[in-house]
């Protein structure tokens, strides 16, 4: 029983799980529910409560998660008291360890640490107790303390590596240690060494029978709750390879990173984290977009993956995502948001929510759209529903920055005279955003009347016939811009620096929309 909690906590607490949470399936909830229903003793009920709590927490269902953690805490307290009355100190130490794990998950790091310290008074020789200590400290956001506890778990487990189960335990503890170090020092070579050892163990002769059984039972699912050594082996191999890929990526070792993620995909071709990893390594915009699409199709509701895609979607080269799957629609909504096409993005998000139900990921995108449109009231209401996520603070910061920049742009606008010669990048972006967002006809008329002159760096011409040259895009003050349609300029002109007179038409993502008036000598 304790081992199930141990591996689950290890997986749930990993930074990888936080960065790239997988879709916790209803099937897994069902497993934990059945585990809880069939539990007869108080002791047997603790693990499923902790497991269910973690699954709910992964789905951002905080109240439900805390309900399970509090239930686990209450049972652990009763168990501790009763064990002491029976003078059963082994059960007492177990109960205190469970108590500590529940406290860590309830966001009480001081009490959790005290409870773990109480447990190791009796169990300082037990690697699984140290491993739970490590998991608890990671959950509490204390990776350096987790690392120290994980080192003890590995040290003690290595001393007793005799059975296949013990060999698997060592691999689990090494993975936990690698995760704790990775959280602090992503490129630390020890992470790679530990994970290579984990993969080597899982591939090695000592676990041949477990691998064989996993193959015979056709186990391929990656679980957060593992019920057997076979489940544990498959899930741990998946996690270790994913983390190994991230570690190699952090060290700039792209070949090794790609190799780790490709091996994950050979085991499970729709693994979203591996697909996202490969997307980050891809070089052509089409391949990047395609990899992200596959990753989002595997898990459309992963906010961290949406955020990874956001960074790429800002690029002018990012192709418009097509397709009717939920993942494609979510990707398209992000792409539209990156181009300041908030109304279209909102419509897309509404369609997704109608078809699949509202999820934190759809609320997140809707909030992003509301922030971008300057609809503070709606944005605040949506952000309020994301309070448990780090994205809530991010969105609030974006909202504050947006209203600050808007206020200052409005103020600047009233002080500008036309033409504006050699405008700064901040001014151009601020005014372009005003064009996109302003609901004031007076402000729009003011911006419309403004003429700008500045040095632009034109991209290669689309065509030229000797008397005219057609340009579509370039940069000004380091900001990419494009014309709404390619424009033919008189003369046989070369790409590069020219002085351009123009009006501002708006902004799409990070690209200014410019209406050219004249190329000046």
């Amino acid at each position: 029983m304790k081992r199930l909690v141990v591996l689950f906590l290890l997986l749930a607490a990993s930074s990888l799980a936080a960065a790239e949470p997988r879709l916790t399936s209803d099937y897994e909830i069902e497993i934990a529910r059945r585990q809880l229903e069939s539990a007869r003793t108080s002791r047997e009920k603790i693990a499923p409560h902790l497991n269910l709590g973690d699954i709910r927490a992964a789905r951002h269902e905080t109240d439900a998660a805390n309900g399970h953690y509090n239930a686990a805490l209450r049972i652990a307290d009763e168990m501790a008291h009763s064990a002491r009355k029976r003078a059963d100190l082994s059960s007492y130490a177990d109960a205190v360890t469970y108590r500590a794990a529940a406290l860590a998950k309830l966001g009480r790091p001081g009490d959790a640490r005290a409870a773990f310290e109480e447990a190791i008074r009796y169990r300082s020789d037990d690697p699984s107790t140290w491993n739970l200590y490590a998991s608890g400290m990671r959950v509490a956001g204390l990776p350096e303390k987790a690392e120290a506890a994980a080192r003890n778990a590995v040290l003690l487990a290595e001393e007793r590596k005799v059975t296949a189960k013990a060999v698997l335990d060592v691999a689990i503890y090494r993975y936990a240690l690698a995760g704790a170090i990775y959280e602090q020092r992503r490129d630390d070579p020890e992470v790679g060494e530990l994970l290579a050892a984990v993969v080597g163990t899982l591939d090695g002769p000592e676990l041949a029978k477990v691998r064989e059984r996993a193959r015979d039972q056709e186990i391929f699912e990656i679980f957060t709750i593992v019920r057997s050594d076979e489940d544990a082996l498959v899930s741990l191999l998946n996690r270790a390879l994913l983390l190994l890929g991230r570690h190699h990526e952090a060290r700039g070792e792209t070949v090794a990173a790609r190799s780790a993620w490709e091996r994950v995909l050979r085991m499970r071709e729709d693994d979203p984290a591996a697909l996202a990893g490969l997307a980050r390594l891809a070089t052509s915009p089409q391949e990047i977009s395609q990899r992200y699409l596959r990753s989002l199709e595997a898990n459309p509701w992963s906010i961290p993956q949406l955020r990874q895609y956001e960074a790429f979607a800002e690029s002018p080269d990012a192709p418009r995502p097509e397709g009717s799957s939920a993942g494609a629609a979510m990707q398209r909504a992000v792409w539209l948001l990156a181009r300041a096409r908030e109304a279209e993005a909102s419509a897309e998000i509404d369609r997704i929510a109608d078809a699949h139900g509202e999820r934190p990921a759809t609320i997140y995108l809707a909030a992003r759209a509301a922030v971008a449109m300057g609809d503070g009231e709606k944005a605040e209401a949506l952000i309020g529903r994301l309070e448990d996520l780090p994205e809530a603070a991010l969105l609030r910061r974006a909202m504050a920055a947006r209203s600050e920049s808007r206020a200052s742009s409005s103020e600047i606008l009233s002080s500008l005279g036309s033409p504006v010669v050699d405008p700064s990048s901040d001014l151009l972006i601020g005014l372009a955003r005003l064009v996109s967002e302003s609901r004031s006809p007076a402000e729009l008329a003011q911006i419309d009347a403004l003429l700008f002159q500045g040095i632009v760096d034109l991209d290669e011409a689309l065509s030229r016939d000797g008397s005219t040259t057609v340009f579509a895009s370039g940069t000004i003050e380091g900001i990419p811009f494009r014309f709404s349609v390619p424009v033919a300029f008189r003369g046989d002109l070369s790409a590069g620096e020219h002085r351009l007179a123009f009006r501002l038409a708006g902004i799409a993502g990070a690209t200014l929309l410019v209406e050219p008036l004249e190329l000046m000598p």
Binding site: A80, H81, A83, R84, K85, A87, L89, Y92, L106, G107, R108, P109, G110, D111, R113, A114, E118, R121, Y122, S124, D125, A140, L142, E144, K145, E147, A148, A149, N152, L155, L156
Partner: protein, 344 residues
């Protein structure tokens, strides 16, 4: 038993849901730390002085002769050094504190997580050295600092001024307590049910006795002399007993003999008492007896050779201290006191 409600603690800060509190003595004053606040109750004062404190007070150390106490926050790695007079000084530690002891007004802290021994001088200067392994306990004896690493089973001796190591002893692992009495060191080993002694001066001479079923905590009631053995008390929650045993004495084997006497009932604390329903696992000497604590229930007991008596409930593991006459304890964030009376 007359109890005095001293003052009502402020509500816990909303950000800190932790309930832990620490009570420690600083000379004649009592220091009570709850999340976010430190209160110092001077003798005779009706109200404590309050100061901003630590987010997660975890454990404390006292230097009563210097009217000093230290409260540690093992989550944020900070220590508040509190004098009975004046404002507490908050020190950020480079390493995570695990245990601490004063030598005079100098504080020695071990960090199991970082494998270091840290010295914090009275002027606040912090120096540290790498210890052998990962020390989880520190004890001061004869102006010398001793650390014990329960994972690797290593006792190490340090010079308090230079922090130079002057010897190590590889000994039993997985101890739950480490005490010294001036001549000998004692380790409680719950897994084997033994209490181990060794010589502090030579760092050898390991001896072992049966320490009950699961000895968890040891306290030196009377230090050993040249000719006479000291006395140890051992908390054994599995037997629901606190055993008393003669400690080590120079050149003799009285350690084992002393314990045997304990087992047959001579000098055994409260053998017929049933007032320790779940046993106790933390003990310290107080007013001719012991203060004993049951971590599972938060019950605090006073134990004398004649009787054992529960004096408080709902107490935190580091939430009690005594000043010679009264025991002070924190329950639900509120500091209480109870007279220990006089009994020998």
């Amino acid at each position: 038993m007359k109890r005095y409600l001293l003052f009502i603690a402020a509500l816990l800060t909303p950000a800190a849901l932790d309930a832990a509190s620490v009570v420690v003595r600083a000379g004649d004053a009592i220091v009570h730390a709850v999340p976010g606040s430190i209160r110092v109750l001077a003798p005779g004062a009706a109200e404590p002085r309050s100061y901003p404190g630590l987010a997660y007070p975890g454990f404390g150390a006292a230097a009563s002769a210097y009217a000093l106490a230290a409260i540690f926050d093992p989550v944020e790695d900070r220590v508040a050094i509190v004098a009975s007079e004046g404002t507490p000084r908050l020190v950020e530690l480079r390493d995570a504190p695990t245990a601490a002891a004063f030598l005079g007004s100098t504080l020695f802290v071990v960090s199991r997580e970082n494998g270091t021994l840290i010295r914090i001088g009275s002027d606040g200067t912090e120096t540290s050295v790498r210890a052998s392994g990962n020390p989880g306990f520190v004890s001061i004896s004869n102006d010398t600092v001793f650390t014990y690493d329960p994972i690797h089973g290593v006792v190490e001796r340090f010079d308090p001024l230079s922090l130079e190591s002057s010897g190590t002893l590889v000994i039993d692992r997985f101890g739950s307590d480490f005490e010294t009495d001036g001549r000998f060191g004692y380790l409680a080993i719950p897994g084997t049910g033994e209490v181990i002694s060794f010589s502090l001066s030579t760092l050898d001479g390991r001896k072992t006795v049966q320490g009950g079923a699961v000895p968890v905590d040891v306290v030196v009631e009377k230090p050993s002399g040249t000719l006479s053995p000291g006395t140890l008390a051992i908390a054994d929650p599995a037997s629901r007993r606190v055993w008393r045993v003669e400690g080590e004495q120079s050149g003799g084997a009285a350690f084992a003999r002393g314990f045997l006497r304990g087992l047959i009932g001579l000098g055994l604390y409260a053998p017929r008492s049933s007032e320790l329903p779940a046993g106790v696992d933390r003990i310290e000497t107080a007013a001719g007896g012991l203060l004993a604590f049951d971590s599972s229930s938060g019950d605090l007991y006073r134990i004398t050779p004649r009787r054992s008596e529960r004096i408080a409930t709902g107490v935190d593991p580091s939430g009690y201290a005594w000043d010679g006459e009264r025991a002070f304890y924190s329950s639900g964030g509120t500091l209480h006191s109870v007279s220990l009376g006089a009994e020998n």
